[in-house]
Amino acid sequence: MTFFLDSFQSAVLLILSLDRELLEIIGVSLNVSFASTCIASIMGIPLGLYIALNEFPLKRFVLTVLNTLLALPTVVIGLFVYSFISRRGLFGPLDLLYSQKAMVIGQVILIIPIITVFTVAAVSRIDDRYRKTALTLGAGALQTAWVIIREARFSIVAAVIMAFGRVIAEVGISMMLGGNAKGFTRTMTTAMALEYDKGEFVLSIALGIVLLLVSFTVNIFFNYLQGRSKI
């Protein structure tokens, strides 16, 4: 217990001293997670909107596949992307392996199903009268889609926040595709795993505290949005 308390005290001091290495790791984590969340949102929200508002063959099958992908293990994605971007892979010449770009690619694959499935759920709950109202008032397809997104905005933003929470906390993709290179691809989770392996708990606990604070902030924002949606 004393060991833990000592480590915890040192970790807090490390955070308060704004340790350069710690800040670097936090920066990489936030940078990669924000990038992957933005890219996945740009792809997943319109995809969810299309699936929710249109009838097409195999719609149920597509939804089943997306729901299955929600439970996709990060190591499977890591392995899958690795096979494409390793030197022997299709995109090997692009030299993406062990870069932040590779981590973003993997994380985008991880969270596109989350954003899409929850956008489908959010849009399906929206009253069809909004669509009819927008159309009869003369809106085109894009303006109508914007009206629907606006009405479902709280649920869609909640889906995006949930996806951000998923990528900032994942370790498999970051480790396999990023390689945990100090200053380049070392994220909070990969650094924690490394420090644990080394038996160095101070940085590990400090990063754990920061990760919890990020999660806590995200949850406060999530609850705030849920509260707003009831108005």
């Binding site: 009268r129 909004y130 009819k132 109202t133 008032l137 003369g138 303006q143 009206v147 606006r150």
Partner: protein
């Protein structure tokens, strides 16, 4: 002609909800589409608003054929606007709701503000500019939806049961708005209702729909009943109020009937009823409809009776008093 419809069919799976061989709707008028629930009124309005494509048939708008699946449908939609039965406003302010169609039509900021203020004045809601749309009552929402529709500067406004879910005060206001937008702005109005009295009061012309088809007149006094046959072979229709009427029909068992209000006779109870099919009821309501009087009689179910004015003058009917109502066999139509 504003609309022309040819061989229009709307079908959901195997169920035909609308089947109109031919219909023409003139421009510049207030047209009432009358019919009971499930007659296909809303479906027809959505087709006329170019929101719904018919399964078969053709729709012409101002002599131009409408192709519902093609890109030019937006040009048709921007001439016509539908106010839904229970309109829904976007979750923002009243101002921004009315501004939406104006922004689509690329009106400048100053014009938008002026038009919105004019429209709010027209619907009697000047003070609601900054109110949250979702905090409005049903009647207020209906009026803002009308203002929003008018912001489109449409050639036609289609209204689905505009007064179905509002109180009497809002009903009067909405009927006034309908007349004003038709007379002052020259906008054609097509509205649906199941209220014969309202259609007579507001519409220049009426069209009757029943089970997805155009009917010559609206079926009134629609009830469910049961056909019984006595030992002499005479058939009787027993209604839900347990009243038994002689009828002429080949049918047996459960039936749905309409009692034609113009074939019924009504008399004060001072006279003794000699005819069969005569029952006592209470006179609940009397209204004047163009060239006839409509009486509503409570016989444990409300029955409408149409009386010629000359006959009415001889009857000395008083509201709330008991009357005899005779429903001759020919007044029963089997649906």
């Amino acid at each position: 002609m504003l609309y022309e419809i040819k061989n229009l069919v709307k079908q959901y799976d195997d169920r035909v909800v609308l089947g109109l061989p031919h219909a023409s709707l003139p421009s510049g008028k207030i047209i009432g589409l009358l019919g009971p629930n499930g007659a296909g009124k809303t479906t027809l309005l959505e087709i006329l608003a170019f929101l719904l494509a018919p399964t078969l048939g053709e729709v012409f708008y101002q002599s131009s054929k409408v192709h519902h699946h093609e890109s030019n449908i937006l040009a048709f939609r921007q001439k016509v606007v539908l106010v839904q039965q229970k309109p829904i406003l976007f979750s923002t302010t009243v101002f921004k709701n009315i501004e939406f169609p104006l922004k689509i039509r690329k009106q400048n900021r100053i014009d938008r503000k002026r038009i919105i203020e004019d429209l709010l004045r027209l619907v009697g809601m000047q003070g609601f500019k900054d109110a949250k749309a979702h905090h409005l009552s049903g009647g207020e929402t209906q009026r803002i939806a009308i203002a929003q529709a008018l912001a489109c500067s449409p050639e036609v406004i289609l209204m689905d049961e505009p007064t179905a879910s509002v109180d009497v005060e809002n009903q009067i206001i909405i009927e006034r708005i309908i007349r004003e937008i038709n007379k002052d702005k020259g906008i054609s109005v097509i509205f649906t209702t199941h209220d014969m009295i309202q259609a007579t009061r507001v519409a220049d012309e009426t069209m009757f729909l029943y089970e997805g088809r155009i009917a010559e007149s609206i079926h009134e006094n629609i009830f469910s009943g049961f056909i019984e046959t006595d030992e002499t072979g005479q058939k009787y229709c027993v209604l839900l109020n347990q009243k038994k009427f002689q009828v002429q029909t080949d049918r047996n068992g459960p039936v749905r009937i309409s009692i034609k209000p113009n074939l019924l006779t009504i008399r004060p109870v001072t006279e003794h009823p000699f005819e069969s099919n005569t029952y006592q009821g209470r006179l609940l309501q009397l209204t004047h409809e163009r060239n006839r009087i409509r009486a509503l009689v409570d016989m444990d179910m409300p029955i409408s009776v149409l009386i010629p004015p000359l006959v009415f003058a001889t009857l000395s009917l008083k509201l709330g008093e008991e009357v005899f109502l005779t429903c001759p066999p020919e007044s029963f139509e089997f649906l």
